[in-house]
């Protein structure tokens, strides 16, 4: 019989080895899959790397894909630190993008130094409110935030669809359901060949790191996340902390939506998130909610997505193969957490021994 017992003595080295081993196992597992598809796994992995980092253009593309992941991961990590399982990033990105688009469509002629901050503010507020609604219900009535935030995603998606097919439909598009493109003033400037979102992302990583580790607010979040009762014991306003933290979390995701809409798409569409809200859950978890680690993990994930696109062309295998790789890595890494936290031992299953 297998016996599990909790362990707390897992050293950093050991747990790194376990996680590393998990990634290798995942790669090996996917190799079999690639072989079934009739390709050499080594050359597929090799060209994935080449596809993600092979040329300046590819690197730019990879980084471009990593920006929404980084910002959304930061937002999610903030909520997760509070043990608030916010899986509503997807919806928060959409509502944020809607807020930004509202400004962009209504004030297209404002100079960009006014319009862009305005869009950013609108996106933060919209995304924040989208997050704060479930947070309020959780704080007040202990509703299940996982289900609530997830459902909010669909509500946001339907709103966005409604806007795209209804009030915000571009009259110039001859009936094609699309939202008009942003004016040049509403588009993020390009810095070093990449929209300025990367600067925002880097700044946010630094700010988040400082916020969590060196401010009183950040400290409160860690306390309440560590033990709600201890938070109450210390006299903290636990409900308030939950609500405003999730507002910030949603706000960050909202900002991510604004950057995508303004920097990449230059318009809004139902495909705005590209699944970033879900992928970011993975990346923030894999980076153990640590702000400085998030960009690294996100760039790797973006590389996997970018490389996946490349192998699609190079080997004629579906991009989904890369997604399988992503999923498998996640599966193994999460599975390995179990071995970090529990010790498995095998004991003999003797049901009865006759008396001697």
């Amino acid at each position: 019989m297998i016996k599990m017992s909790a362990r707390t003595d897992c050293s950093a080295k050991e747990s790194a080895a376990i996680r590393g081993g998990a990634i290798i196992l995942a790669l090996v597992t996917v190799s079999f899959f690639i072989m079934i598809l009739g390709h050499n796994p080594f050359s597929v992995y090799g060209s994935m790397i080449e596809g993600a980092f092979g040329t300046v253009y590819r690197i730019t593309e990879t980084l471009r894909k990593s920006i929404p992941l980084i910002i959304a991961s930061l937002g999610i990590a903030l909520a997760f630190r509070l043990k608030f399982w916010n899986i509503g990033a997807e919806g928060q990105i959409m509502t944020g993008a809607m807020g930004a688009t509202f400004c962009a469509l209504n004030f297209p002629d404002l100079p960009s130094w006014i319009l862009l901050p305005m869009m950013a503010a609108a996106s933060i507020i919209c995304g924040g409110i989208w997050g704060a609604i479930p947070a309020y219900f959780r704080a007040k009535w202990r509703t299940n935030e996982t289900i609530f935030t997830l459902m909010m995603n669909y509500v946001a998606l339907k709103w966005l669809t409604y806007l795209q097919y209804g009030p915000w439909k571009d009259p110039a598009a001859l009936g094609f359901p699309k939202i008009p493109g942003f004016s040049q003033n509403a588009v993020l400037p390009t810095v070093f060949g990449l929209h300025a979102g990367w600067i925002i992302a880097i700044l946010l990583v630094i700010i988040m790191h400082l916020f969590i580790n060196h401010t009183k607010r950040g400290y409160e979040i860690s306390v309440v996340g560590g033990s709600e009762n201890t938070g109450r014991y210390a006299g903290m306003n636990v409900k308030g902390i939950i609500i405003y933290t999730i507002f910030l979390s949603g706000g960050l995701c909202g900002l991510c939506g604004m950057i995508e809409a303004s920097g990449v798409n230059r318009t809004l569409s139902v495909g705005i998130t590209m699944g970033a809200g879900y992928t970011a859950i993975i990346t923030s978890w894999l980076s153990s909610l640590k702000a400085p680690v998030i960009p690294v993990v996100c760039v790797l994930f973006a590389a996997m997505i970018q490389g996946g696109t490349f192998i699609q062309m190079a080997f004629q295998i579906p991009q989904s193969a890369a997604q399988i790789l992503q999923g498998t890595i996640l599966f193994f890494v999460l599975g390995s957490e179990f071995f970090i936290r529990y010790r498995i031992s095998f004991i003999k299953n003797i049901k009865s021994e006759e008396g001697e």
Binding site: I2, Y278, S352, E353
Partner: protein
């Protein structure tokens, strides 16, 4: 165990939503598969057809048992670390042949053999010896009581019988055979039925379904057969039960009946009841005792864990008293007296001398008037509690666990919002203030809660971050300055001799005693006016405990009023000035620690003397 379970749950939750993310990727994958012309649906369909063919060629559908068989081991050990969830437990529980096994054992019962014998059982958790060389045996047709204070090792002992723990050493004989009970399933199949204090029932199912859960292995639920069998058991032992009633609509007593029926249905003839009367009304208790007596007459062996003395006297045939993990004595109930049992329970010798400086002040520092508290479930936790504590006085609070001590402490600290009554601190009514409001008034009430890691400390944070917990918000800047906290953490480590690799070590990786020292150190370091401590030395070795008693005495000499909730009567008697005894949310009496005896307090704790000896203040 429960904290493990919690951790596991949160991990599992986390895993679940990761899985969600994965599944969306999977959806995308399916979609992509369709694009190159591969029809995933067709594949699914084919797969289904294949399965049906496979099953029908086998001649019969695989039963639920076969499907679950491969998971059996895993689910079971999971239930072990997860506090034995009923579902998992039942899934793997083999169908105890009620008819055969029952008849066999009943046959033996007539012989008056030993149903259970435990020989030299020892079990330690870390440094704590929960059970030390315990031996006892229970005969068929006997009600055997295990009596002892909290933490005496009663639950550990029976948990080894129910397969939740395995002993470090020693042998267990069941029905005369030496067994190794490696899991609850082993225990159930050997005829041991455990009725836990906290019921393990599925609320949305009927009594019948709860009883039959995991027991019937056919594809269909044979309702009539199950019902007949339940009614048979009911009439044999005199239970009253509506099999179709939903568990959530049941009273506590009815739920307990279902629990008992569940183990009887599985063919248990050795019953273990963990504090069965703790949640029952007197009438329900009486009915339970009637049933237990009838079961005893039918030849069952019954072990009942309790700390209520009068129940032991009323129902048991023999009783073993446990004290600090050892058997303090085993006697025939009709040959003993409550007095003798009490003195066995609390022990004779005082371990080490503790100083007791005299109380200097006469001024009442904290006064509680008519404090009542009804909890969320409508159960009265505190019932018109009134008392006063002087500055420089240690008021001890004795009582069996769950007599309202926790609620009292949390009320004083401002954590309980549902209370009624007054709490006066130096004349100010603070009963409706939050902890921070009390703090901001300049009143320093320090609280050392019972569950240190659940409240009071943040387990995953290091010493420095935990030390700063209460006053971080007084800092002016939005940034947190950890330097003063670092110095204080170092001071606490030195002052109380905390064993830690560094002050940046997470507190949950420290040992229990050191965790307690960190908490006590922080609270004392804030120079409190009043100190509320709940079991501050629980789980500590004698040396550390005395360090803490000395520290409490130092605070006392500073003029701090102290409310000391304790469990060791020896300590209460030698450390405190007065001892207040709580029983079922009431104060049953207050005694002067200098003149009171342990027996006196012990009896009061068990609700034996109502009114008690009032101290003259």
């Amino acid at each position: 165990m429960s904290s493990n379970f919690k951790a596991f749950c949160s991990e599992f939750k986390a895993f679940c939503f990761e899985f969600k993310a994965l599944s969306s990727n999977f959806k995308a994958f399916c979609f992509e598969f369709k694009v190159p012309g591969y029809d995933f649906k067709a594949f699914c369909f084919k797969f289904k057809a294949f399965r049906i063919r496979g099953a029908s060629s086998g001649g019969k559908l695989p039963s639920a048992k076969e499907i679950f068989a491969p998971f059996g081991g895993g689910a079971l050990s999971l239930s072990k670390c997860a506090g034995a969830s009923p579902g998992a437990m039942c899934q793997t529980a083999p169908a105890c042949a009620v008819t055969n096994e029952n008849n066999q054992s009943r046959g033996r019962a007539i012989n008056g053999n030993e149903a259970i014998k435990m020989v030299n059982i020892s079990k330690s958790f870390g440094d704590v010896k929960a059970n030390d060389n315990i031996s006892f045996s229970v005969n068929y047709g006997e009600i055997y009581a295990l009596l002892g204070e909290n933490g005496a090792g009663k639950s550990t002992l029976v948990n080894m019988l129910s397969g939740i723990y395995t002993p470090d050493s020693g042998d267990i004989y069941v029905h005369g055979k030496r067994l190794r009970l490696a899991s609850p399933a082993d225990s159930i199949s050997s005829g041991i039925g455990m009725i836990h204090q906290h019921f393990k029932l599925v609320n949305v199912m009927t009594a019948m379904e709860n009883i039959a859960i995991g027991q019937e292995h056919g594809f269909l639920f044979k309702k009539i057969k199950v019902k007949d069998k339940i009614e048979d058991i009911c009439s044999r032992y005199g239970f009253r039960l509506e099999p179709e009633k939903l568990v959530r609509d049941m009273s506590v007593g009815e739920k307990q009946t279902v629990e008992i029926l569940k183990v009887l249905y599985r063919g248990a003839d050795i019953l273990i009841l963990d504090e069965p009367t703790a949640v029952l009304t007197p009438q329900e208790t009486e009915r339970l005792f009637d049933i237990l007596v009838r079961m005893k007459e039918q030849g069952c062996a019954i072990i009942i864990i309790t700390h209520k003395l009068h129940e032991v006297m009323e129902i048991s045939d023999r009783v073993s008293v446990l004290r600090r993990g050892e058997v303090a004595g085993t006697v025939n109930t009709h040959e003993t007296s409550p007095m003798e049992l009490t003195s066995m329970m609390v022990g004779k010798k005082v371990t080490l001398s503790i100083e007791r400086p005299p109380v200097k002040s006469d001024e009442i520092m904290l006064e509680v008037k008519d404090l009542s508290l009804v909890d969320r479930d409508g159960i009265k936790k505190l019932d018109s509690v009134s008392f006063g504590v002087r500055g420089g006085e240690i008021l001890g609070v004795a009582g069996v666990a769950g007599s309202g001590q926790k609620e009292l402490c949390e009320s004083i600290q401002g954590l309980e919002r549902r209370k009624r009554g007054e709490i006066l601190f130096k004349g100010d009514n603070i009963s409706h203030l939050t902890p921070r409001a009390i703090f901001e008034k300049g009143l320093r009430i320090s609280f050392i809660p019972e569950d240190r890691l659940g409240m009071g400390l943040v387990p995953t944070m290091d010493l420095v971050d935990n030390v700063i917990l209460k006053d971080y918000y007084l800092q002016k800047s939005i940034f947190l300055d950890r330097e003063p906290a670092r110095q204080r953490a170092e001071h606490i480590v030195k002052m109380l001799n905390v064993h830690t690799p560094s002050i940046y070590h997470p507190v949950n990786k420290l040992s229990g005693g050191n965790i307690q020292k960190v908490l006590l150190g922080r609270e004392i370091d804030s120079r409190p006016d009043f100190l509320v401590t709940a079991y501050p030395t629980r789980g500590l070795d004698i040396g550390s405990a005395h360090l803490i008693y000395d520290e409490l005495n130092r605070q006392k000499e500073r003029g701090v009023g102290i409310l000391y909730v304790g469990e060791d009567l020896n300590i209460l008697l030698s450390l405190c000035d007065r001892i207040m005894v709580m029983f079922e949310g009431r104060i049953i009496g207050t005694v002067d620690a200098a003149t009171a005896t342990k027996e006196e307090i012990g009896l009061m704790m068990l609700g034996e003397i109502s009114g008690g000896v009032k101290s003259n203040d």
